[in-house]
C-alpha cells in the first residue's frame, strides 16, 4: 500500500479542488464522501487481489489525472468520424466527462421517454442518488472512485409501455487535450414495465495525452422490459485507460442483450454484474475483444441467477496479436432458489502471435440441483488449411488472415441486428487487422 498512498493523497486533494463544482446537493455530497472514503481506504486495486490477479494498474496509478471542469471544443470532423454512416439514432455526446447539449440530438423523442444529463438529474431531483436503489451494492474501489468524482453521463428513463423508436447513440469522448484528464461518467438506464430501448455506448479517445475513462452504467429493467445495449470501445490503444462497469438488475420477464466490443485501449477492464431477480428473465452477454502491441483487455463477468427459470447466454471471442494480453473471467452463480436455470457460457480466443497471452477462466457456483450450466473455452490459432484455401483463390496471405480472423468474430457482430452499426464495427475491426483494410468493404 505504501506505493499507493501518494496517489491517494493526490486524489484527495483533487477532490477538494473540484468538490464545489460537482453536481448534486448535500445528500449527493454525502454519497460522494462515502465513495471517496471507500476509494482512498482501499486505493487502486492491485494484483494481490483475486479479481485483479492478471491486471496491473500501476501504469494507471502513476498518472495524476485531473477532473476537467468543462468539455473541450470539438471540431465537426472529429465528431462526424464517430458516427456510423446511415445510423438513424438519437444522440448524446459526453466530452471529457460533460454532457454537451449542443452536440446532442434528442428532438422528437416518443412519449414516455426521458433522455437527459446525469448531472441535471443529480441537481434537479430531490430524490436523486448516485446509485440506483435497486443497485445499492456496487463493489470495487474504482466504482467508489466514480461515485466520489462523477461529473455527468446520460440518464435514460422509459415509462411503462414506452418504446424508444430509434437507438440512442451515446458518445463518450476523451479529447486528450491540455492536461491528463479523467472522465468519471455514470449512465443510468431505467426501463419500466413493458418498455423497450436500444442504447449504444460508444467510447472514443482522440488526443495525444494519456487519459482515464472510468465509467459506470446502471441498467434496471422492470417487468417485461427489454434493453439492448451495445458497448463499443475505441479508446486510444496507446494512451487510453478504460474502466467500465455494468450493474444490471432484472425483474421478471425482462431481457437484456449486452454486446461488448473492445477494439482499443492501452488498458481496458470491463466488469459486468447482472442480477436476474425475477422469474423468466433473460440475459445475453456477448463480447469481442481485439488486442495488439501491448494492449491489455480484461473482461470480468458475473451473472447471478437468483430466481427460477432464468436464462443466460454468454459468448466471448478474443483476438490477440503482438504482445497483447487478454483476460476472461466468467462467473456464474446459480443460487439455491434458482431452479430451472438455463445457462451457457463460452469463450474462444485466437492467438495470432507467440507473445500474445490469454487467461480464460469459467467460474461456476451452483447451489440449485435442477439446472443446466454449460461452459466451454478454447484457445487456438488460424486454420492454415483455410489460409491456403483462400490464397488458392487469389487472396494474398495477409488478406486471407484478416478475413479469417474477422470471420471468427463475425457471428457476434451480426448478432447486433443493426446494419449501419455492424458495418461500422466491421470496417473498424478490419482496419485493425494487418492487411484487413483492403477487405473492409467487400461485403
Amino acid at each position: 500500500m505504501d506505493q499507493i498512498t501518494p496517489a491517494m493523497d493526490y486524489y484527495l486533494a483533487e477532490f477538494t479542488r473540484v468538490e464545489r463544482n460537482l453536481p448534486g446537493a448535500d445528500k449527493i455530497g454525502e454519497q460522494r464522501q462515502d465513495g471517496l472514503r471507500a476509494f482512498t481506504a482501499h486505493g487502486f486495486p492491485t494484483v494481490r487481489e483475486e479479481d485483479w490477479k492478471y491486471t496491473d494498474l500501476r501504469p494507471l496509478s502513476k498518472h495524476t489525472f485531473e477532473i476537467s471542469d468543462q468539455a473541450a471544443k470539438l471540431d465537426a470532423d472529429t465528431l462526424a468520424a464517430c458516427i456510423p454512416e446511415a445510423l438513424d439514432a438519437y444522440r448524446v455526446v459526453v466530452v471529457d466527462g460533460h454532457f454537451v447539449a449542443d452536440l446532442s440530438q434528442l428532438s422528437g423523442l416518443p412519449a414516455g421517454v426521458h433522455i437527459g444529463s446525469f448531472a441535471d438529474y443529480l441537481n434537479d431531483n430531490a430524490k436523486a442518488s448516485i446509485q440506483h436503489p435497486l443497485l445499492d451494492k456496487q463493489p470495487g474501489s474504482l466504482v467508489a472512485m466514480n461515485a466520489a468524482f462523477v461529473t455527468d453521463g446520460v440518464h435514460v428513463e422509459l415509462q411503462r409501455n414506452a418504446v424508444l423508436d430509434k437507438p440512442l447513440h451515446v458518445i463518450t469522448l476523451a479529447s486528450g487535450s491540455e492536461d491528463e484528464r479523467m472522465a468519471q461518467v455514470r449512465h443510468r438506464f431505467e426501463l419500466h414495465e413493458n418498455s423497450q430501448a436500444t442504447i449504444i455506448e460508444h467510447y472514443i479517445g482522440v488526443g495525444e495525452l494519456a487519459y482515464f475513462t472510468n465509467a459506470v452504467t446502471e441498467a434496471v429493467t422492470h417487468a417485461n422490459a427489454q434493453l439492448t445495449r451495445c458497448r463499443l470501445q475505441e479508446e486510444s490503444p496507446r494512451r487510453g485507460y478504460h474502466v467500465s462497469v455494468l450493474f444490471a438488475h432484472q425483474e421478471r420477464d425482462s431481457r437484456i442483450y449486452n454486446h461488448s466490443f473492445d477494439l482499443g485501449g492501452r488498458l481496458a477492464r470491463i466488469d459486468t454484474h447482472t442480477w436476474l431477480g425475477g422469474e423468466n428473465t433473460e440475459i445475453g452477454l456477448y463480447g469481442v475483444f481485439i488486442g495488439n502491441d501491448r494492449q491489455h483487455i480484461d473482461n470480468h463477468t458475473r451473472v447471478d441467477h437468483a430466481i427460477p427459470h432464468g436464462t443466460s447466454r454468454e459468448i466471448f471471442k478474443g483476438v490477440l496479436d503482438g504482445r497483447s494480453r487478454g483476460v476472461f473471467n466468467g462467473k456464474i452463480v446459480i443460487h439455491q432458489d434458482a431452479q430451472k436455470t438455463d445457462s451457457e457460457q463460452s469463450s474462444d480466443t485466437l492467438l495470432l502471435s507467440k507473445k500474445a497471452e490469454i487467461d480464460a477462466k469459467p467460474e461456476l457456483e451452483i447451489y440449485a440441483d435442477d439446472v443446466i450450466a454449460a461452459h466451454g473455452s478454447t484457445v487456438g490459432q488460424l486454420d492454415e488449411d483455410a489460409v491456403h484455401y483462400l490464397r488458392s483463390r487469389g487472396i494474398d496471405e495477409t488478406g486471407a488472415r484478416a478475413i479469417l480472423t474477422y470471420s471468427f468474430a463475425r457471428e457476434l457482430v451480426q448478432m447486433l441486428n443493426m446494419e449501419p452499426l455492424e458495418r461500422y464495427i466491421e470496417s473498424t475491426l478490419m482496419t485493425k487487422l494487418p492487411g484487413g483494410e483492403l477487405f473492409a468493404n467487400v461485403v
Binding site: H388, L390, R391, S392, R393, G394, I395, F439, V443
Partner: protein, 251 residues
Amino acid sequence: MLSIKNLHAEIEGAPILRGINLEVGAGETHAIMGPNGSGKSTLASILAGREDYDITAGSVTYQGKDLLELAADERACEGIFLGFQYPVEIPGVSNLYMLRAALNARRAYHGEPEINAMDFMQLINDKVAHVNMNMDMVKRGVNEGFSGGEKKRNEVFQMLVLEPTLAILDETDSGLDIDALRIVANGINTLRSPERATILVTHYKRLLEHAKPDYVHVLAHGQIVQSGGPELADELEEKGYTAIEAEQETA
C-alpha cells in the same frame, strides 16, 4: 501453356514425385490417373502452390513464367485454379464474400478496377444455375455444413465464377453420385475453350466418360509411367492399376 520437367518433390525427406514430365497445351484436357499414394494429389497441390513440399529438382513453366517462384495467390491471379480433393469449411466467411474478394484480388493484380455489386450478382446468378446450387447455399459460410457432394459442386461453382486459364481438379469426382458427377462434368465442359486447359486428377474412369480427356497419363511411384489417348482409361479400367505397376517394374 504448362511445362513440367523432371519434377522431384519430397515431404519431410520422403520422396513423393520422382521426375515428372508433362506438357499441357492450350485447349487440352489431360487426365492423370493412378493408384492411391502415387503422387497425384501432391502434383496438383504443388502446381497450386502448397508450401508443405520441398522441390528438390526440376522446373515448372506456366505461360512462360517460372511457376515455382509464384506464391499460391499469385498463381491464382495468373489464372490457375485448384479444385480441392478435401475442400475446407470456413464458417463465417460466406461463399459470396470469398468470391468477391477473390475476383477483386485478381483484378487488382492486373491493375483493373473492382467489380461492381450489380455485375457481381449477375455473374453469380448466371453460374449458380450450372451447378444446381441455390442462393441460400451461396450465402452460407464457405462449405459450411455442406455434404461431400455439395462441397465438390461448390468447387466447380467457384471455378465457373473465377474462369481460370488452367483448371486442376483433384479428385473432384470422388464420392459423387451419378447426378452430381454429371453436374461436375458439365461444369468442366462448360469451361472448355481453345484458350484454356484442364487437368483432371482422378481415381475413377467414370468422370472421363462425361468429360472426355485428350490425353490420359498414369502416375505410379511418383512418375508418369504411361501416357496415351482416352482409350488408356479403358485399358486401366480393365486391367487395374496393379497390372500397370507390374508392367512398369518388369520393363
